[in-house]
């Protein structure tokens, strides 16, 4: 029921240059990109790096990213680690439980493509994008905190370029 969803049907016919739409875009995008609440959710090795990133040394709170335990409160989910076939359905469900607009960051090789488990991992899902759509892929095994920050900034850029008027992605 968020504003965006309601507007979806009505603003189709606006040109992208409309001044009201663009300044509205700026505000809404700014708010979305600077308060990306993250799901308190870790899968495997990368989760430790994710924790290290939100801890004192790197401090994700600078970007307004705070971990929330309930999927209803969050904007982004960091798939931090190997997604097994047993877990894949649960991740799909978690993603379904998140309210729109929602974003997914796939952190680390395992969730990008299966990582070191791509060949013999009979229980490993080769890439979380087979289950849920991914916005940003962060490579590395595990990615350093700096790499994760870079990925988050890339996601912020992506959000910054979204618009009410035209549908991107």
């Amino acid at each position: 029921m968020g504003i965006l969803n309601k507007l979806d049907n009505t603003v189709e016919h606006f040109e992208s240059g409309n001044i009201i739409i663009t300044s509205m875009d700026k505000l809404l995008n700014w708010s979305r990109l600077s308060s990306m609440w993250q799901m308190f959710f870790g899968l495997a090795c990368c989760a430790i790096e994710m924790m290290a990133t939100s801890a004192s040394h790197y401090d994700l709170d600078r970007f307004g990213i705070i971990p929330r335990p309930s999927p209803r409160h969050v904007d982004i989910i960091l798939i931090s680690g190997t997604v097994t076939l047993k877990m894949a359905t649960r991740i799909k469900r978690l993603w379904d439980q998140m309210p729109e607009p929602k974003y997914v960051i796939s952190m680390g090789s395992c969730s990008n493509c299966g990582g070191p488990y791509w060949e013999h991992g009979y229980n490993v899902l080769k890439g979380v994008d087979r289950v849920i759509p991914v916005d940003v892929y962060v490579p590395g095994c595990p990615p350093r905190p700096e790499a994760l920050l870079e990925g988050l900034i890339k996601l912020q850029e992506k959000i910054r370029n979204q618009s009410l008027a035209k549908h991107t992605a």
């Binding site: 430790i48 004192s56 040394h57 877990m87």
Partner: protein
């Protein structure tokens, strides 16, 4: 008055739950707030380690052991490499052994810091968690200095190490020891001896000695029950017999021996002992070449070996069967958390939901280690 109908409530904790330390799922049966049954459901992180090990050559398995228990990669590597070396029957230069011990002990500190920090987080105190992570970051810097990686190192090779340590590493490590001693006290003051924390953990989740031994519980979890059993002393591997350190056991300073607080405090004490070992090792480290014993091709004769080591979480064993080829025929990891976790149902019955969280935290489980 008509009789009230009551029924037990089944509540599903995890796989996404803030305090299951990963993707463990616990199915709790509750009578009000009292837990009547806990059914752990594992396997949400089953990454087929053993299948991979059969498909890889011996050195190629080392990165997978890293990823098994990702909080103490060095100890995992060490255990696996010791098992392979036992199959090969090769002599290791003394310098390598010293460096391995230093790394394993630093890793123990890093792992215990995460254990303590997340345990504080489970209890609702977020600040100690970040304090611990701050110190852990310092250990990771040391690791980064020797092998370039923060979390998964692939540092300990069969017969040697990937890189030698530098004199700078030694000075930095000494600085770290000097910095870290007072920090242990700080964390203890902030968390371990906090009245609320003691109330939450003391006399919760009692694990009697005989149950612990019978269920294969090991490491700080076992020592918290008052069993003075540390493989570094009892069955010394590598060169642990050269160092002087104490085995810490739960003493029942608060609560009773075998409860959550005693399991927790063993870790805090152990960090101090690890510092002692590192100090001794740094002082007496001999010169040598860390690559001299690295075999060109790791191809052991047919046979099998089982090596147990004391990882930060407990007894970590690798059982390797070789059929004389380049790949292991079978590698079975006797993972620590797997055995430690198996007693959870037994000891958390009759406690409250909040206590189950504390009991789970006191085992210091890592799902990568449980599910492999």
């Amino acid at each position: 008055m008509a009789e009230l109908r009551t029924e037990e409530l089944t509540i599903n904790m995890g796989p996404q739950h803030p305090s299951t330390h990963g993707v463990l799922r616990l199915v709790l049966t509750l009578n009000g707030e009292i837990v009547t049954n806990v059914k752990p459901v594992l396997g949400y992180l089953h990454r087929c380690f053993e299948k991979h090990a059969e498909a890889m050559t011996y050195p190629q398995v080392i990165p997978y052991t890293d990823r098994m228990d990702y909080l103490n990669s060095m100890s995992n590597e060490l255990a696996y490499v010791l098992a392979v070396e036992k199959l090969l029957g090769i002599e290791i230069p003394e310098r390598v052994e010293y460096i391995r011990v230093i790394m394993a002990e630093l890793q123990r500190i890093a792992s215990h810091l995460v254990a303590i920090g997340t345990y504080g987080n489970d209890a609702g105190a977020f600040t100690p968690f970040l304090y611990c992570f701050m110190d852990r970051e310092k250990v990771l810097e040391l690791f980064e200095m020797v092998c370039g990686a923060r979390l998964l190192y692939n540092y300990i090779w069969v017969g040697g190490l990937s890189h030698d340590i530098t004199p700078e590493f030694i000075t930095k490590t000494k600085e770290f020891i000097k910095y870290f001693r007072p920090r242990i006290k700080q964390v203890n003051n902030l968390l371990s001896y906090n009245k609320i924390f003691i109330e939450r953990t003391a006399n919760i989740g009692m694990l009697p000695q005989d149950v612990a031994v019978n269920a294969g519980v090991s490491g700080p979890t076992l020592r918290g029950s008052g069993v003075k059993y540390d493989l570094r002393k009892e069955d010394p591997y590598s060169i642990y017999n050269k160092f002087d350190f104490d085995v810490c056991v739960g003493t029942g300073e608060y609560g009773t021996v075998g409860d959550c607080w005693n399991r927790y405090i063993v870790r805090a004490y152990e960090m101090e002992q690890s510092l002692r070992i590192i100090e001794q090792a740094l002082d007496s480290i001999p010169e040598g070449d860390v690559h001299s014993a690295v075999p060109k091709r790791v191809k052991p004769v047919a046979g099998e070996s089982y090596v147990r080591t004391e990882s930060p979480k407990g007894e970590l064993g690798y059982y390797i069967i070789s059929d004389g080829s380049l790949n292991p025929y079978r590698v079975k990891a006797r993972s620590t958390s797997f055995c430690n976790l198996s007693v959870i149902n037994q000891i958390s019955r009759g406690h409250m939901i909040a206590d189950v969280v504390m009991i789970l935290g006191s085992f210091d489980i890592v799902l990568g280690c449980i599910d492999r």
